[in-house]
Amino acid sequence: MKIIVKLIGPLIYEGGFSEKVLALPGPVTAGKLSALVNIDKKRPTIITRNGKAVTPDDMLENGDRVVISHIYSGG
């Protein structure tokens, strides 16, 4: 299945991409997808799927848009 992954802010430079389509062999959770991306896992992140926050255990579906961001606090 195909998942669109978008990284936010400094994660772009850490992960080496801003947005890309990941082709995955089978069902995957948000947490597992996040682990596939090369970012600092120690820092808390917020993951959204199609604009809604998800937990690491939530299953993703083909065509989902997943956005990974650090937790910011605005300006």
Binding site: K6, G9, I12, I46, G51, K52, A53, I71, G74, G75
Partner: protein, 612 residues
């Protein structure tokens, strides 16, 4: 008493007089400094009902016990007065060497009273105070004024100045510093302009009293390096605050077209990646460890320093998705000394009101060239349109009628920051109950709200988070006075701040002690509010009505068909009041005020509104 100079400089522009006044340890530890000092001074010294643009108003510049001390991001100052935009206490902070220089001159605060006869530069050098002519730069923008000041006094001076917006009493005119920073959103620049005070320049040579200067120096210098290293590692400053734009666009939280929409397909053109790519320089405040001011060339080729709030409100909120055009609008706001956020919301309201037939005009969303001209008209109060725009969105709505107040994006008269709360209840609450009107500075809970709660919830956990953040952001950081970015963006522990405070004062405070002062300050600002607006109800703590309007709901995306629910919002507001110890009107109870040490103030305010 260590950690404070123990002195306030009081200057009267009418009489060209000044005097040094001392304060004691009780005052210092009750209010800490910065916003705390300003809240107390203005409450005691201003009569309710005065014209904020009259000579009776007073401008307070206040610093905290770690201002000017080498430690992470301590180069900030608070400016405060009765606000010409909201009609009650208003303030803001900005990066300026005045944080260090005023303390070195021997003062923790400056009170400016009266009104000068001619445009004036107030010059303070240790014990010397001079009232100098600023006629040469009256009518000029902040960049030219800064150049003039720089040539006279050098880069090391602490400077506050205003542009044409402040001179012409635009109600959202800000104060600017030599470092290019701006502060005082609710019209602190207009208060300076009303006093014909073009600039304040300060130089000091005295040591800042500290309980343990050697320990503080070792601690502060070490921490400056540590936070700088943390930032280098995290890469936050690659996009700085504008990293949030792409995220807001993804989660339906971006202001687009006067907050009518929550995302836009062209938002990527003005996001943090594009800003970083266009960067030509980077600026920061004094003592900064993580310089957030990303500067680009604007459409006209001038340097313009952008952050998320001005990109969101002068960009997407006006349907302008050319970064260099957003840079031009931002440059003009800085040059004229206008608050970029209120300016953006005021322009977007104007376009919306025209589109909805509430008024006639030739401004449309997306028209950057006309927006530039409108900013010029507003800053100079030129013509009918310029005078209208100079008043801010609430007053314009009252002038236009046709129910346009529903989409004037403000709370208590202060325009909202760049987070579209069409369906973000907790952040909407944080705007509703922000002490001085809608401001992101006091509580920003969106990521907490989405990650740790359900977005649909209007529960007490959101009210609790707002209070927690108000204590930290609107309380501790505004009194010490220090920038919150090391904590919020890099995870620098909050425990460092009582440590700095204790090292300079010799006291032994905890974060809980800081929260008590913060609660006192929030209660005191409420007292400012109710003595100016004794008939005010809890509706004053509601966000803009358009966020409750189902017909304004998104038609697609993650919050399609949803909007805030008024009854549920009102219940969440009650949670906030209950947790704060306020009554059903949102007014602190007599019992709470007693516990906060404000019994005297409680008795005084009962002349205006009866307390429960």
């Amino acid at each position: 008493m260590k950690g404070w100079t123990g002195n306030i400089l009081r200057v009267n522009l009418t009489n060209k007089t000044y005097k040094k006044e001392s304060f004691n340890e009780e005052f210092a530890t009750t209010w800490i400094g910065g916003r705390g000092f300003a809240v107390k001074i203005l409450y005691d010294e201003l009569k309710p009902g005065i014209d904020p643009l009259g000579p009776e108003n007073k401008l307070v510049v206040a610093l905290g016990p770690i201002s000017g001390i080498p430690a992470p991001n301590t180069g900030k100052a608070v400016v405060a007065a009765k606000s010409p935009l909201t009609g009650f206490y208003g303030d803001g902070n900005l990066g300026s060497r005045i944080s260090e220089q005023l303390r070195k001159a021997g003062y923790d605060a400056l009170i400016v009273e009266g009104k000068a006869v001619k445009p004036t530069l107030l010059y303070i050098e240790d014990d010397k105070v001079e009232f100098l002519s600023a006629e040469e730069v009256w009518g000029k923008g902040t960049y030219a004024t800064n150049d003039w000041i720089y040539a006279k006094y050098g880069k090391g001076a602490g400077v506050l100045n205003i542009g044409q917006g402040g001179e012409n009493l635009v109600r959202y005119a800000v104060v600017r510093s030599l470092e290019g920073r701006a502060g005082g959103r609710p019209g602190m620049g207009a208060v300076m302009g009303s006093k014909l005070l073009k600039a304040i320049v300060v130089k000091g040579t005295k040591p800042i009293p500290q309980a343990n200067p050697e320990a503080m120096r070792a601690l502060g210098i070490g921490d400056l390096k540590t936070v700088h290293e943390m930032d280098k590692k995290s890469g936050w400053t690659k996009q700085s605050t504008n990293a949030v734009l792409a995220w807001c666009n993804e989660v339906a939280g971006l202001p687009v077209q006067n907050f009518r929409k929550t995302s836009h397909t062209e938002a990527w053109k003005i996001d943090g990646e594009r800003l970083n790519d266009a960067r030509v320089a980077t600026y920061g405040c004094p003592s900064c460890t993580m310089k957030c001011g990303i500067t680009i060339h604007d459409k006209e080729g001038r340097e313009s320093e952008l952050d998320y709030e001005n990109v969101g409100l002068l960009g997407s909120n006006l349907n302008i998705f050319e970064l260099n055009q957003v840079g031009s609008l931002n440059y003009l706001c800085d040059e004229y000394g206008l608050d970029t956020m209120s300016a953006g919301c005021t322009l977007s309201f104007y376009a919306d009101a025209i589109e909805h037939g509430a008024t006639e005009g030739d401004f449309k969303f997306g028209d950057a060239e006309r927006a530039k001209e409108l900013l010029r008209l507003a800053a100079h109060r030129e013509g009918k349109v310029g005078n209208l725009l100079a008043e801010g969105s609430l007053r314009m709505a009252r002038e236009f009628g046709h129910n346009s107040e529903a989409y004037a994006m403000q709370v208590k008269g202060l325009e909202v920051a760049a987070y579209n709360c069409k369906f973000i209840p907790g952040q909407a609450l944080s705007f509703g109950v922000a002490a001085i009107g809608a401001h992101h500075r006091e509580a920003w809970i969106i990521s907490f709200e989405l990650k740790n709660t359900t977005r649909e919830s209007f529960g007490p956990e959101k009210a609790a988070k707002v209070i927690e953040l108000q204590r930290i952001r609107g309380g501790m950081f505004e009194t010490l006075v220090s920038c919150r970015f090391p904590w919020i963006e890099e995870g620098w522990s909050l425990e460092n701040y009582p440590k700095y405070f204790n090292t300079v004062t010799g006291l032994n405070w905890t974060l809980d002690d800081m929260w008590k002062v913060a609660d006192r300050i929030y209660a005191m600002i409420k007292l400012h509010y109710i003595r100016e607006f004794p008939q005010a109800t809890r509706k004053g703590d509601y966000p803009p009505a358009v966020w409750f309007d189902p017909s304004n709901s998104d038609t697609e995306g993650p919050i399609a068909g949803k909007c805030l629910d008024l009854d549920k919002y009102d219940k969440m507001l009650q949670h906030y009041y209950d947790q704060r110890g306020y009554d059903n009107r949102g007014i602190p109870t007599r019992s709470l005020l007693g516990k906060l040490g404000l019994s005297k103030e409680a008795s005084a305010v009962e002349k205006y509104a009866k307390l429960n």
